[in-house]
């Protein structure tokens, strides 16, 4: 009975109620969206590298090294000389080492020079290996393996020629040394998707005579050349046994010939979260405030509706409704509004995710999974509904006290 009344009353005031619900829905969608991006970003970052014990680069900050070597965010302060790289590679505790050389680009995508070992050793999402979807890994000097996003965005298929440019967003293209797409990798959800991978030697080859205008060494001559790399940007290192990781880290950090930095990827990530957590808290705080604002907005609409409904309330009371029925009616209306708001908000979130997922992925390399609401999200929704009920108590109690006298007194 009271439920039917509540619904009927809400439908009668469809426009105002609709607006209130929309406000709550948007605020809920915002709050949940911030949560999704926050957790999605963390998971996506944490999933990007696994199985690597140490990352070695020029001495800078551990977060910076992690960001440029693995996430291709920012740039290296310095490179590692090839000599140093060899020194580390020959350390008895080193199980495997993979060089990474950055600094060239193909269109908007970064080019990474490495060795074929990279495909074996690079692991993501707790131990998954890279899979070549189409074609094969680097064999010839001018072979390039491209990530799934590179292939999708530029419409490349195996054996298409590609041209590598010097520097990021630069106009100096090494168009005299065209590469060939030898393989396309399966989508990983990591920055590898947006990377063109070529051999270490190829990086040297494209720089053999790029500074001299008009001169070009034929590709076959280059294939014959020694082409020893001079420098690498960073190196991924696997250690023989976990007990030796710290020892090797210390050896590298105290290496006197060149200032180096070795980081544990997990520890650097943690440091990153510590930096980000302040902004994160602020974001969550702001979106929580938006939810509170929407709920207060709802309280205001209920208050103003009390004026319109003075007669209605008085008639209910005259018909024999107890004051607590009036309170119940108003609170129930608020709960219905808050619930609808929460559900619409959830729906908006999923619509937003469906639309935004590919955009966010291509713009930031962040893959936000579309999953059923987590327990935490369900709790958030329940809290919003409960808060809506509590907030509505204020106008409801006012109506409780005023309903009879107010509605019956004829005001002039």
């Amino acid at each position: 009975m009271i439920l039917r009344l509540a619904f009927a009353s809400l439908i009668a005031r469809a426009l105002t109620v609709g607006m209130t619900i929309l406000a709550i829905a948007l605020s809920v969608a915002l709050f949940l969206g911030v949560e999704k991006i926050r957790t999605g970003a963390k998971a996506s970052f944490a999933d990007t590298i696994s199985g690597t014990d140490l990352i070695v680069g020029a001495r800078s900050g551990s977060v910076q090294l992690l960001l440029y070597s693995v996430f291709r965010i920012g740039n290296a302060t310095n490179n590692l000389t090839w000599e140093t790289y060899q020194d580390i590679a020959s350390h008895p505790d080193v199980d495997w080492i993979v060089p990474i050389s950055l600094g060239d680009s193909h269109r908007q995508f970064r080019v990474m020079g490495t060795t074929p070992t990279f495909f074996e050793r690079y692991k993501y999402r707790s131990g998954k290996s890279l899979v070549v979807n189409d074609g094969a890994i680097i064999d010839d000097l001018f072979d390039a393996v491209i990530g799934a996003d590179v292939a999708a965005t530029l419409g490349y298929s195996v054996s298409d020629p590609i041209v590598v440019a010097h520097g990021l967003a630069s106009f100096t293209e090494h168009d005299d040394q065209p590469f060939r797409v030898s393989g396309i990798l399966e989508k990983t959800g990591t920055p590898v998707d947006r990377t063109v991978i070529i051999g270490m030697r190829a990086i040297e080859a494209i720089h053999v005579d790029w500074q001299v205008q008009g001169q070009s060494t034929p590709a076959d001559a280059l294939r014959q050349m020694e082409l020893e790399p001079q420098a690498v940007t960073a190196a991924l290192v696997g250690v023989k046994g976990r007990l030796k990781v710290f020892g090797l880290q210390r050896f590298i950090n105290e290496y006197t010939q060149e200032p180096l930095l070795a980081i544990l990827p997990g520890v650097a990530l943690q440091e990153l979260w510590q930096i980000v957590s302040i902004a994160e808290t602020a974001l969550v705080g702001v979106s929580a405030m938006v939810v509170i604002t929407a709920l207060i907005g709802m309280m205001a609409t209920i208050f103003s509706s009390l004026n319109e409904r003075r007669r209605e309330m008085a008639i209910f009371r005259a018909m024999g409704a107890r004051p607590r029925v009036i309170v119940g009616l108003l609170v129930l209306e608020a709960i219905v509004m808050a619930t609808l708001g929460a559900l619409v908000g959830l729906e908006l979130l999923y619509i937003g995710l469906t639309i935004g997922q590919p955009l966010i992925d291509s713009a930031f390399g962040l893959w936000l999974p579309i999953e059923p609401p987590t327990l935490r999200e369900v709790w958030v929704l329940l809290v919003v509904i409960l808060a809506g009920a509590i907030v509505s108590m204020v106008p409801a109690l006012r109506a409780y006290r005023m309903s009879l006298a107010d509605g019956m007194t004829v005001r002039i």
Partner: protein, 199 residues
């Protein structure tokens, strides 16, 4: 033009000779120690670095008898890891190897001496010693190897370390397990390291 390029060329070849010496110093923060722990199978390797100020309260070379005694006592305490980092009984851990010592942190010098400089060598070295006494920091360094019947039972570690060394305020802990690497900060106010979810 020719001359200029000659000058550039000489500058490039000469500079490395002048800059033969490498200078670097590790970071050193009083009150903050570092503990690295690696779990592998039944073995746990630990490495502790703590500033002299944390452990004995001074960082100059121990001269008086009480100072020397303090250093000796500290080294002896540091050599007993299970008394400093209390592991749950269920893990049933024992010490395989424990070493502790005091290191004077000096500039890491790596001189590739050029012949001409040899004359000054002794002199320079002596000066360096003096300098280290004035401004150098000392660090206690300990390495442990433990073996545990059930390392997965180590869900927390109680840092009695803070009771033993009243000047220590914080330990930065890095942990490597099969699940990956993470870091923690253990502070005097809450001297327990929670390792749940690390195995």
């Amino acid at each position: 033009m020719k001359i200029l390029s000659f000058l550039v060329a000489t500058a490039i070849t000469v500079t490395p000779v002048l800059a033969e010496e490498n200078r670097q110093l590790d970071a050193h923060e009083h009150g903050v120690g570092q503990l690295d722990m690696a779990f592998d199978g039944k073995q746990i390797a630990m490495e502790l670095h703590a500033p002299g100020a944390d452990i004995v309260g001074f960082e100059y070379e121990a001269e008086s008898a009480p100072e020397r005694a303090a250093v000796d006592a500290a080294v002896a305490t540091l050599a007993g890891p299970l008394g400093l980092f209390v592991l749950p009984d269920a893990a049933d851990c024992s010490v395989v190897q424990a070493t502790a010592g005091l290191e004077r942190e000096e500039e890491h010098k790596d001189d590739d001496h050029v012949d001409d400089e040899h004359a000054d060598d002794n002199h320079a070295e002596a000066k360096h010693e003096d300098h280290a006494n004035e401004a150098g920091h000392t660090e206690f360094h300990a390495e442990y190897l433990l073996t545990c019947a059930d390392p997965t039972a180590i869900n927390n570690i109680n840092f009695s370390y803070f009771d033993s060394f009243p000047n220590a305020l914080e330990v930065e802990v890095q942990v490597i397990t099969a699940a990956g690497a993470t870091s923690f900060e253990v502070e005097r106010d809450a001297p327990t390291l929670d390792l749940r979810g690390m195995f």
